[in-house]
């Protein structure tokens, strides 16, 4: 299709080729009882440790897809496996997933520390160990000094960091993020994008990241799943073949623009198709 997307299955990086699939969707679809097709059948395999972005306009089913992976919504048909197991059997394994919402969604009545430690408390982790892990999580997102602050005393970006720390404290294997930085200003967003990549690399996470920003998708991902709306469906699967760590310089490189242009083309074609059909 394009010069950039030359990567095919036989030239995958050796480092990840032997890793098992973390997430597998087999003809997974979502049709609501009233007949609305939120998502046409999707086949998708996400490997352990991969950073995948779901990119598309609103109504393309990207959030629905993410929620189905989290088990917050169930597919109307098809199968969905996490580490080869159905989602409702996940708790029987030692694998865990975390979900980071579009809003920080913190408990406004609790301090930052309490917001994060609650995740551990619900798992039965208490005392010294819980304290240490909360400190660790706070350090990961750079909020050690704000442990005792209330959410309302923090900026939007800092609240989002707390939300991410809350997601990381349980040491998840899979991190699902639903447009987490959508409401933040660009400077904060760039900063958190870089922080996220660092956390992903340091912690060996598998990340599925939902966004409607083409540039964010290119900057973050190893692979972008491009989606279109009405009905929600996957229209392309683009590898972003760029090494990590990626610095802000990457945003200024011609390659970055080329990837962005390619993604843009897919989205544009889909929306023209939609208008003419």
């Amino acid at each position: 299709m394009s010069q950039i997307n030359i990567k095919s299955d036989d030239s995958e990086p050796i480092s990840s080729s032997n890793l098992p699939a973390a997430v597998e969707l087999l003809s997974t679809e979502k049709t609501y009882p009233n007949g609305t097709q939120a998502l046409l059948p999707v086949d998708l395999k996400i490997k352990q440790g991969e950073f995948v972005t779901l990119l598309g306009p609103s109504g393309c089913g990207k959030s629905t897809l993410l929620k189905m992976v989290a088990g917050l919504e169930s597919p109307s048909d098809g199968r969905l496996l996490l580490w080869r197991k159905p989602i409702d059997k996940l708790h029987e394994s030692d694998r865990t997933l975390s979900f980071v919402f579009q809003e920080a969604s913190l408990m406004v009545w609790h301090s930052v520390r309490k917001n994060i430690s609650l995740a551990l408390e619900l798992e039965g982790v208490k005392g010294q160990e819980a304290e240490q892990r909360v400190d660790q999580a706070l350090k990961l997102v750079g909020l050690e000094k704000f442990a005792d602050s209330l959410p309302k005393e923090l900026s939007g970006g800092m609240q989002m960091r707390v939300s991410i720390a809350r997601g990381l404290v349980i040491k998840p294997d899979l991190l699902l993020m639903d447009e987490p930085f959508g409401a933040l200003d660009e400077i904060t967003r760039f900063k958190l994008d870089s922080d996220l990549l660092r956390l992903w690399q340091e912690n060996g996470l598998t990340v599925i990241f939902v966004t409607h920003s083409i540039h964010e998708a290119v900057f973050l991902s190893q692979r972008v799943i491009v989606m279109a709306a009405r009905p929600g469906r996957v229209i392309a699967n683009i590898e972003i073949d760029e090494p990590f760590p990626r610095t802000q310089q990457f945003r200024l490189q011609p390659k970055f623009s080329q990837y962005a242009m390619e993604l843009h083309q897919y989205l544009e074609n889909a929306s023209i198709e939609e208008a003419t059909s």
């Binding site: 917050l72 919402f101 408990m107 406004v108 619900l122 349980i170």
Partner: protein, 268 residues
Amino acid sequence: MNAKTEKQPLLANPRYKKIIIPSLIAMLIIFTWQFIVVTADIPEYIFPSPFVTAKTLYADWGLLGPALLYTLKVTLLSFLLAIVVGVSVAFVFVQNRAIETALFPYAVLLQVTPIVAIAPLIIIWIQNTTLALVVCSTLVAIFPIISNTTLGLRSVSPNLLAYFKLRRASRLQILFRLRVPSAMPYFFAALQIASGLSLVGAVVAEFVAGTGGANTGLAYQILQSGYQLNIPRMFAALTLISLTGVVLFAAMSMISKLVIGHWHESEV
């Protein structure tokens, strides 16, 4: 530099503003009232002046003091009962939509039926006058507690609820770690309304009961003053009822501020 700059910080502080401005209005009203009564030479058996009212309050304290205590007792007992029963009902409603759907209309029925219409029946059924008054007053005060607390327990951020479910929190954990804290602002708003309503209930019910004897509250004093055309005492009793209501409201605001003020915006 001058007196004006000294005064500014005091009035600029919203806390003082909330006390000073209403106090000034109160003083203005009292002076106007006194002025009109004195200049127009209105007899005190029609419209007593604030001064006469205050004098009567002092002189009749032997009657009014115990009456106030009795009314307070009924008010506070019914307020507590309304909280305990109202919150329990709200908890049941939130656990099960079917129960709420089935029972909520009856909570509304309770609310829309005037207490003066049910009070005679309750007073016949319940021998103990004090208990009868408490029950009547509870019926008046309970509705805002049920409806507000139910609303509050349901007004949980959908994301937080999803988060708790993802973390496999139990129903009980969701109730106490998420629903109860989320409901706090709603609950305290209900307390402010219900505290006043329980006073209204206590006074209205006593009007209907109209019993004499040792257990008599301010309503009985007002009734008696009416029969005896002792208007200054009526005014004194009225003043006590109003002040009680204001104090109850202020106390609820203070408790609310103490409990949730550090995180809830409107209490800051």
